[in-house]
Amino acid sequence: MLFLMAIAAGVLFAAGIFMILRRSMVKVLVGILLLGYAANLLLFNAAPLIRGAPPLIDPVIGVPTVYADPVPQALILTAIVISFGVTAFAVVLIRRAYAVTGTGDLDNMHCTDIPCESEEILSDLEDEIL
């Protein structure tokens, strides 16, 4: 089982890295998501995979010989919640970027290196508010 999980994590890492090397913004985002899943799976395998054993220690019986480790699951839950928020933001950002630059191709985004004429969205926003 651990072997299969390791293969799965490896495949996810490979797919994620392949995707973040693409030029399209959306594909890069998918790549980041895949990498996140890969990291979560890696976390899941951090403790030995044990079926049917309790994760809690009974104070009367003491530490059982076989017990499941609940920590990685707790960590993954937190990581999933965080990646939920990050993904929501990234999607908004990509939509915004598409609206502003009119392209989804990362190769066309060179305004940060070579100054180019930017439409002053901000001043428009300011006018709207005032």
């Binding site: 990291a39 890696l42 976390l43 933001f89 502003v100 985004m109 940060t112 930017s118 969205i121």
Partner: protein
Amino acid sequence: MIIYPILIPLVFAIITVLFWENQRVKRALSIISTGLLMIVNINIFFVVYREGIQVVQVGDWPAPFGISLVVDLFSAIMLLTTSIVAFLLAFYSVDGIDLARRKYGYFPLFQFLLVGVNGALCTGDLFNLYVWFEVMLMSSFVLIALGGERTQIEGAIKYVILNLLASTLFLSAIGLTYNLAGTLNMADLALRLQAVSSSGQVTVIAVLFLVAFGIKSAIFPLFFWLPASYHTPPVTITALFSALLTKVGMYTLIRFFTLLFPFESEYTHTIILISAGFTMLTGVLGAAAQTDLRRLLSFHIISQIGYIFMGLGLFTEYAIAASIYFLVHIILAKTALFLSAGMVESIQGSFDLKKLGGLYKHRVGLSMLFLLPALSVAGLPPFSGFFAKLGLIIAGLESKQYFIIGLALFVSLMTLFSMTKVWNEAYWKPPKDPQYADQQKPVSRWRLAPVIIIVVLSVLLGLFANPVFEVCQMAAAQLMDPSQYIRAVLGMVR
């Protein structure tokens, strides 16, 4: 008590969201919050200075199982410095942030950023550190994209993607660490990693953490997102990022490589030294090619990060002390430089060195606000930069690393050259365009006062270098002797 640096900005962030529509209240709340934070952190600093490392077990769970918050002298110094800068930036934001950004949540995000920064500085738990980093990153993502200009969005995309990649690496490294040691409490981890120090897996994890935080703190060859994104938001936000984000990454690297991975020093510290040398050099060479003031200063962030990293690479008590002093020095000096650049822009309407000019003729006082921190960054006595670099070079001589010393001195010279260029172009030369010759546009007091204070602090740091450096040496002594940290965290149980 050490929970307050996290709680104060969090509570104020929530209250600021509740007053979403009222700009004056939000502004006042942000100043009150950072003010309170500064008072609390001054208090924490003195408590830690007198009584040693402070620990709180959150939720009353005993140490290796629950989350511990730990503040040692190094954390306390960082907390104090960042909160002073945050307080002054809260004042600067009153005029330095436009209405659209203030409307769209600048102030709550500012507070959430502080929550993340303070959390990362206080925590003694690996996974908790990840959570605080994400809090910090999420706020910085929104802050950098806030406003939605084209360059900003493009910079934000580069910043977001590379930082998410770093977070994934960080998370994977945590998974591997847990697999190896079965604990996430940093003090407990330090003990257990010592037991398996022969294993190559520890080195793999160490390098994975090095890459993850290397991206976040912009070291060579992982810094490319920084010059592509830091110059895009308003200068107040850039100053905030340069003072807090990369420096917290650096703080974590120093913490990790003194507490968790001090033994594999042959291998990792050679990598660190080489990378530090290249970081300094590429940063300053990049700066030499720039004519935009903000971009130029962004490249200098990278080059200065190299110095801090160099102290870690030398890995002697004196070198770490010099690195800590350098961190404090650069947070103050760099913020002052960015904020002065912001004032230059507010007067002349441009960051382009070719268009600027003639500021010295009309605004001598204002020019000094740039000149003093610039000389300090370049490393001229009697400013703080001189002592910071002197400390690093003495440490380098002691460990006989002559090559990196030569490089550090050369980069220092190049920094001086770069700062001279800015001084000549923006302040001394007559402006080409006659429309810039009229220098009577007033600078708001909200901008002027914090910059004056921060420049004064920076100069004082140089004048009182000796006592400050002694405190840094105490902090370094604590860092180099992890048993103090371990005893403070785990001692309560046993």
